[in-house]
Symmetry: none
Subunit: 207 residues, 4 copies
DNA sequence: CATGAATGAGGCTTCATTCAT
DNA sequence: GATGAATGAAGCCTCATTCAT
């Protein structure tokens, strides 16, 4: 009864699942399709994953961890001023996703998985902590910029961080919707403005 | 043969559909549930909508038009400097959605509907044009700010617009995920920085 | 509660039903279609007929009575030798149906209605008595031919009658299937042979 | 993805389908009933047949092929004069169907399937070619009878063939309607007359 | 009388999951 | 361990019939 755990096969399944879920969505994907894409039998998937839902969550975790890995790499390799590091981070994330825009649909599926009914609470929880962590990293960077007096002290690092991260996601979504849209360019333009804003004092409260 | 078209009943159905789809997601919703929520018979829904998918799209259009109405109201009523108007717009959108955060899950469903398979192309098309319009309106406002020399001339209105809009969506999403998160505060903080950035020249290209 | 009985409206409904059932079959016909074809409201049909099944049976009776009327006319107007009368009868029936081959599909529906389940026993009964009557008329004619020594006395009128009648139906069916097939020609050819056979003694029992 | 194709199971299903469709008609039959009659699960049927309609067509083909097999056997084994062979053929077909009169209702369903709407064109096509072939075989036999001067040269083999075949069908139908009716006797009586007619010259055209 | 909007029973079909091989 | 044939719960949708207007 103990399930097998050949990691190479698990990977093969998840990879196939990513492709298939991305193309057809969760509801539109049949387990048989994933199996076929993975070049294995339908029943075999159940040796490695308890259910379709479980497999879906596994693809989620897989992508999540890819993103985390990317983030770690970026934040470790980034050098220079806080501004440069922020821009590098934005560019890295967006560039990385642009290179895989074909599976961006999967992200949308994950987002919507945070909504629907029961058994999907883990998606919401995972997203929450992922965003939380991402905000922490970015906020840290901003805070650092303040400390070294690169950024103005009035700003609230956490809040800015959440908006920045959000803009990255949202620009990718717009790029996904509209192939004529350029998320990277938009992000860079936005980052320039934000960095300018971070350096200068915000005007005394309007009105 | 000719289907009935009592608009008040259509509205009753759509309203029920919004609630139900928002709570349980598209896949998790049974037509019978919507009917019950609308206080009518299951078959009656099919007098007004050809299919579940059609009803879903109708809820989409309904919310879309609500958002458009809101946008029109905001852009018409907004007065004062470009900055103030931008902030007003951001606040209006976010506040409006915060008041209906319980149906934000529906938006996620719509987002993911832009992905999956056939018969859903219209979602993508509708989103594309909606974003396009929203960008146009916001970019217009920014362009106006440049003309009156409130904003610095180097910025690219369309790109900034897309990032701003994106941040609103994405902050709402974070608020949806995490009830401790405050989208409005984050947006306001972000807007302040952006407005500061818009007023000041961006530094000479970083290397 | 008493049902109305405006006969002109009943006729309008049955006429519409004949056309529609003939084109789409019983199962493929919706009451709404019949109503539309009749130029009346869907509910009105139920003022005149208890159910779809009932309406179907009414179309059956209508056609049956048409056929009976035809038969009566033919058998009364026929003059001359028994042979001539038989041929006239065959020709009349086939010609009449050929002129309405577009509703022959309805006859097929009636035939199959003699099979399926309960509530359709009346179709079988009606057919049984209709065939019985038809056989009686044709057999009578043959018997008459025997009496006047036009036909050979060995033949069994009832059996020949049933085969003749059957051949008419079946040739029409073949014509219905294949527009290149000529039921009338085939019938005439067949009748000639049969009449020749009726006139001559059948050979002593073949071994 | 690839559907199973165990022929013995396909046969089991078709057999069950024949019984059930014959008893209750196409419309009156529920897939679940067929499954139960076949002793398998409802879903299993869909592993072997795409739809109810498909299964129905399969039963049609099955019976068609049975009939063809019978015809081949009869035409090959038949010896003796053309007359004897014709009678043998008639008797074989009728006897064979009489032995299975319980599923004759199915034939009626098939006949009516040549009418109704779309997706059923194949029934008509199959019938057309089946009748065409049957006519060919019978006409061939008649033509042979002419050649050996057993039959008179004036007759038209194709036309007589179509009428003979038709009479077999139609007599079976009458037997099906009325258990007191004897299709075999009627056919034999009819065949005798026809054979007598085939041997003797038809009278000069009856004005 | 006529209408057609409303209804819900009923059936086909899908597909995740199981389990014998 | 791997497989895929078998399964049946579940759900969309149709359409005959009703009945308030």
């Amino acid at each position: 009864m103990a399930r097998p755990s050949d990691p190479s096969k698990k990977k093969k399944i998840v990879t196939a699942a990513i492709t298939t879920f991305a193309q057809k969505g969760y509801a539109g994907t049949r387990i048989a399709e994933v199996a076929e894409a993975a070049g294995i039998g339908k029943g075999t998937i159940y040796e490695y994953y308890r259910s379709k839902e479980d497999l879906f969550f596994a693809t989620f975790e897989h992508l999540m961890s890819d993103t985390n890995t990317l983030m770690d790499k970026v934040s470790q390799s980034a050098t220079g001023s806080a501004s440069k590091r922020l821009v590098a981070m934005a560019d890295a994330i967006i560039t990385s996703w642009l290179a895989n825009l074909d599976i961006f649909g999967l992200v949308l599926e994950f987002w919507s998985a945070t909504a629907a009914a029961p058994g999907r609470k883990r998606f919401r929880a995972a997203f929450r902590s992922a965003y939380s962590e991402l905000r922490r990293v970015v906020a840290e960077l901003i805070r650092h910029g303040i400390e070294v007096e690169e950024f103005n002290a009035q700003i609230e690092p956490e809040k800015i961080a959440s908006a920045l991260i959000g803009s990255w996601d949202a620009l990718l979504f717009q790029g996904w919707l509209d192939s004529g849209f350029d998320p990277l360019g938009a992000s860079q333009s936005h980052m320039k403005v934000v960095l300018a804003g971070l350096r200068h004092p915000t005007t005394a409260d309007e009105e």
